[in-house]
Symmetry: C2
Subunit: 675 residues, 2 copies
């Protein structure tokens, strides 16, 4: 049979195909996805599961006019392939290529750039209300997974959507898993229901009654209402959705494309919120993926040889280092427990769960509740560690404020994916955490420079009486920063000098320590000797580090300095000496409000001259697109070459003569102030 | 009858009272609350409604050992009166007095300082899990209102709580209102249920079967299960709670104290999560409050004379000014619509709703979904204005990031209560919004200095193609900043000079403009002339304002300055002139990451010398307690006297001779740079 996929240039082409062709096309799409994800890495199992459902929706609706919203968005590959992006699909997640998430810049069919879960129903409610207010007749559809739909924001969205007096179709794509098996009381109900119900039976009933359903308006609504009543006997999750104001239809077989088209056609113009419950299989079409959908949720590149699948191995990840560090802490302190919001694999807690099943909790895609539960655990005398991606902790900002910081509870946040995340791109970068956590009174912010430091940071966190957050990136751990005996232990608010040198000072935060050391090595080959400091803390920031790096503002005129501080006045003509010893801060975070800002603010408060400071980080006024992490670091100037270039540029701008004198001064200062 | 309330020193005293005494005590408590709230202002109607329920819980449990969590917390007055705080209750909301919310520093009976809704169930789940892990036998109770319980975080909490295999009692305090009538599909279901069900009937059934229920362990569980089955006929909201894994009991009359004690005693030791649905009347005991519970939710001080109640009037509030400004905008632009998360009164949208009912939405206590709905509306071509308290926008931080900023949608956030809030205290201050919004690419942040400026800021926001946020405090509007013809219109990123003077520069943000002008007037009486600038924008910040205020760093050595910038080198001995012209930023926000930080960062980027800058704002490392707003402003040094004192201190530190020369320089600079 001649391949059909190359002939699909837009969803309109789907409408020309017979059922057998559609079924064949589904197979081709699955092959295409396995091929590209095998090469590029990406989200696999969820996309294999949603092929027929996506085809059916695009067959029935015209989403150039109607509105389609993807919740989370990592399951939109089929949608991309069907909406004119198949030819470029092999660039998935590559620099300049197709994004792994819906992206408004790629296609008129993508409405929102998303990557965080649970928001589509509320957004769809807004789109629906907006279309009504603008007097535009647009169908609105939201596709939501069974883990996402029990997220708090999704529930709030359903609660609002249920009050609509117009069309809105929410499709519940139920594969009994989020990224990990779905958690919570509601998921347990759904699981019981899955076991007890036979949706084959439902399907037969629908087939029987569907011809009686007219296709538009009030009549369709009434008929559907009757249909629903007839289906009720075999249905259980209808209750909650009906209480929220929805018509509930389902569950349906999500892999019977002809039947899905028939059903969605019947539902298309119902002037009432409808919840269509579709049962799909995660990893469908690849038995190795259906057998282990968690591993194949978002694998690195892999090779399929017959029944053997080999996933590319990287080096040891920060995630793995965290898992080991946490298990080590938990062995020494039985108060240590760990929480994840549906990411046991991504955060490394899978390993912790095996070691300490009682002290582990997966609260589902519910970051806000997870932080509150942690606060409760902490109040009860435990030392909870919330393992979470930096970008997802944004979902719990207010809980961090109210339940943790306002109470002064020593909850520990371990923020994975803090910084540039590579292929997942703008929706997942962790570039805001320092900014939004730093303004919270008494919060401790730290970042380890290598795997051993991560353990030491965690040990300190467990010993603290205040909340703390530790950040580390999506990467392999770097070579150790310390040659012998590992790092000195973490002491609150104290930095560590990694390398000495008199020409410039690099203050590095967390993952940037290794890059800063590499930059210093590069610079040394050009005769420039840099001092590299591992700041360890963004809050409280090491004031001695600041005093050693910066020079005081000349004279007694520094009004920012506290009156208690002795400003070292120097009136013999060297007043601006601070300005020619370059100081560079380096961080994987926005330059607005991050570590560099903390250094600037502290230096200013201490009455130091900050003219020679340059702040390196992620740009403050644009988003970094998907690509390789190395490429993204280079784009931000955060690789060794980029850091070295800034040091050289700073030195070039300075007066060479002054530089020599400066260098001597800086060293003298450093020697005088740090034992 | 002799008053009983003075004899209640702790909850143990309740257990000695006969039913008639308890009923009499309830009346005394209501009188006490009306008396104190009438004098001090505070939350009235909800506390009048919860008297018997609170008494019953404290009678049955011992919350020195067991755990009691209040959701939102504004309904904890009765709890405070019963737990040893009646004598001091007349200091409610006063400086150094009893807080209007649970407060751990006040009493061992208060476990969490709260004020934001929806979190208690998740926190209680953590407390319950923690007690189990610590092998402590503690009862855990959470009290949640019918508006809060349908908040997303509450739902996430229920979903987790339902998986507990131990005791947890969630009391649903259902008065059919949050602060405003409860919104959403679920609320509509509950309303239908209220109309159809007769809880008197339920009560009779419970009375009949209750004696059969043993009081502890597995037997209690089983008996309760049977009881539940018997009650089911008259019950409807049980479905959702049962699907979440709870046993549902109710609805019960929340004003029959003897019956409540009986029932809670039966439920106390059930080893399973139980939801007890209690029906109470908001404002109970004061017919003027039951008739208008929204007005008497949180009134200012009032006087009751017979059936006439007179609430103290203040001047025109920022909230009222916003309402009028928004209505004005909406009249001119039919894309303008407005959203609130359950605060139509507090945000002023009540008035908007009357003018434009179709373009108004109350999404319930669901800040996250509200922002997503706004994003959908915006995508559909509307110009949504989210009217929200600064502190509650924290609940939607991730939605602001993902659904709004990442898409570049021109949603407008109007943040009321930005700054110090007076009597509500630490849980409600809006002191973080600049910090967490400033790092979001392309976000516009502005603050008007008077009522007319608020309209102008809103006009600009509606015209923008990017998201924006406008902040204003909980206060009356100040005297107009401009004498004739009102303020010049808002131009993106442009400040306005309010007063000229050569001795110091005050850069004021929003509400602080009036205080800065008053400070300048004070200073003028002492011969010090200050320039006062209304910054208007925290982002993008006015670079011309920065250039006019600060002096460049001496020489070419400023490596922070962009190479394109012309650094005005001055080599004739006046290199530190920038350091003796004091520059003071003033804002109602944390000094970490706020407007002052933005000024510092921008000055640094522009290569300016920042040694003479002082940043005034709310302290970065502690919380400001409840009290009067005026007192809080003074405590932070943000009143006119405080600002003037800092200017004088800065001048005193500077060399007087240099100051004179400086003043001339600064004026010359200002003249040269601003037409």
């Amino acid at each position: 049979m001649k391949p059909i996929l190359p002939t699909i240039e837009s969803p309109a082409d789907l409408r020309k195909l017979a059922t057998a062709d559609l079924e064949h096309l589904a197979g081709e799409i699955r092959e295409r996805i396995i091929e590209v994800v095998g090469r590029n890495g990406g989200h696999l199992a969820s996309n294999l599961g949603i092929v027929e459902l996506t085809m059916a929706l695009h067959t029935v609706f015209d989403f150039r006019h109607d509105r389609l919203l993807w919740d989370v968005g990592h399951q939109a590959y089929v949608h991309k392939i069907l909406t004119g992006r198949n030819a470029r699909f092999d660039t998935l997640r590559k620099p300049g290529g197709i994004s792994g998430f819906p992206n408004v810049d790629e296609s008129e069919y993508d409405l929102f750039n998303v990557g965080h879960a649970g928001t589509a129903i509320a957004t769809a409610t807004g789109l629906a209300r907006g279309a009504s207010l603008r007097k535009e007749d647009r169908g609105v559809v939201a596709i939501v997974g069974d883990a996402s739909i029990f997220n708090g924001v999704a529930f709030e969205g359903l609660n609002q959507a249920g009050t609509l007096r117009r069309q809105l179709l929410v499709v519940l794509n139920d594969n009994s898993m989020g990224i990990a098996p779905t958690q919570g009381g509601m998921a347990e109900s759904l699981a019981k229901f899955r076991i007890s119900s036979t949706y084959e039976e439902t399907k037969r009933r629908v087939k029987k009654y569907l011809p009686q359903v007219p296709l538009v308006g009030k009549a369709a609504f009434d008929a559907l209402d009757q249909l629903k009543e007839r289906l009720k006997a075999s249905v259980s999750p209808h209750q909650i959705f009906e209480q929220l104001g929805f018509l509930y239809v389902g569950p349906m077989d999500g892999h019977d494309v002809a039947h899905l088209i028939e059903l969605i056609t019947a539902l298309k113009d119902v002037n009432h919120p409808v919840l269509l419950h579709v049962h799909t299989e995660k990893g469908r079409g690849a038995d190795w993926a259906t057998a282990d959908p968690e591993t194949f949720h978002s694998p690195k590149p892999f090779k399929v040889e017959g029944r053997r699948v080999e996933i590319q191995c990287g080096g040891r990840s920060w995630t793995a280092a965290f898992a080991d560090a946490l298990i080590g802490c938990a062995k020494e302190d039985d108060r240590v427990c760990a929480l994840t919001a549906a990411m046991p694999d991504g955060t490394g807690l899978n390993k912790f769960r095996k070691a300490f099943p009682d002290r582990y909790l997966d609260a589902g895609i519910a970051e806000s509740a997870t932080v509150d539960i942690a606060a409760g655990l902490c109040k009860a005398g435990m030392r909870p560690v919330v393992a979470i991606y930096s970008t997802f902790l944004q979902r719990a900002f207010d809980q961090v404020f109210q339940e943790v910081v306002l109470q002064g509870l020593p909850v520990i946040f371990c923020m994975d994916r803090a910084g540039l995340v590579g292929g997942d791109g703008a929706v997942h970068h962790g570039f805001l955490d320092i900014a939004y956590l730093r303004s919270l009174p008494n919060m401790v912010l730290m970042a380890p420079g290598d795997a051993e430091e991560l353990r030491s940071a965690l040990d300190l966190a467990v010993s603290l009486k205040v909340p703390s957050a530790i950040r580390y990136p999506r990467d392999t751990v770097p070579d150790p920063l310390f040659d012998n005996g590992g790092p000195p232990r973490f002491v609150l608010g104290r930095s560590i000098v990694l390398r000495n040198g008199g020409d410039a000072t690099i203050l590095a935060y967390g993952s940037m320590c290794r890059n800063a050391l590499d930059a210093a090595a590069l610079l040394a080959t050009q005769g420039v000797e840099s001092r590299v400091v591992n700041a360890r803390f963004a809050k409280p920031i090491d004031q001695e580090m600041i005093r050693a790096a910066f020079s005081p503002v000349a004279g007694e005129s520094s009004m920012a300095a506290s009156s208690a501080m002795t400003v070292q006045a120097d009136r013999d003509g060297e007043i601006d000496r601070g300005c020619v010893h370059p100081i560079i801060t380096v961080e994987e975070h926005s330059t607005a409000g991050g570590f560099g800002s903390a250094v600037l603010e502290t230096a200013h408060q201490l009455g130091m001259s900050t003219g020679s400071l340059r702040i390196l980080g992620m740009p403050a006024d644009r988003f970094i697109a998907h690509g390789s992490r190395a490429g993204q670091l280079a784009e931000c100037g955060l690789d060794a070459a980029g850091i070295a270039a800034v040091v050289l540029d700073s030195l070039r701008r300075a007066d060479p003569v002054t530089v020599e004198r400066q260098t001597a001064n800086a060293d003298a200062l450093a020697c005088a102030r740090r034992p």
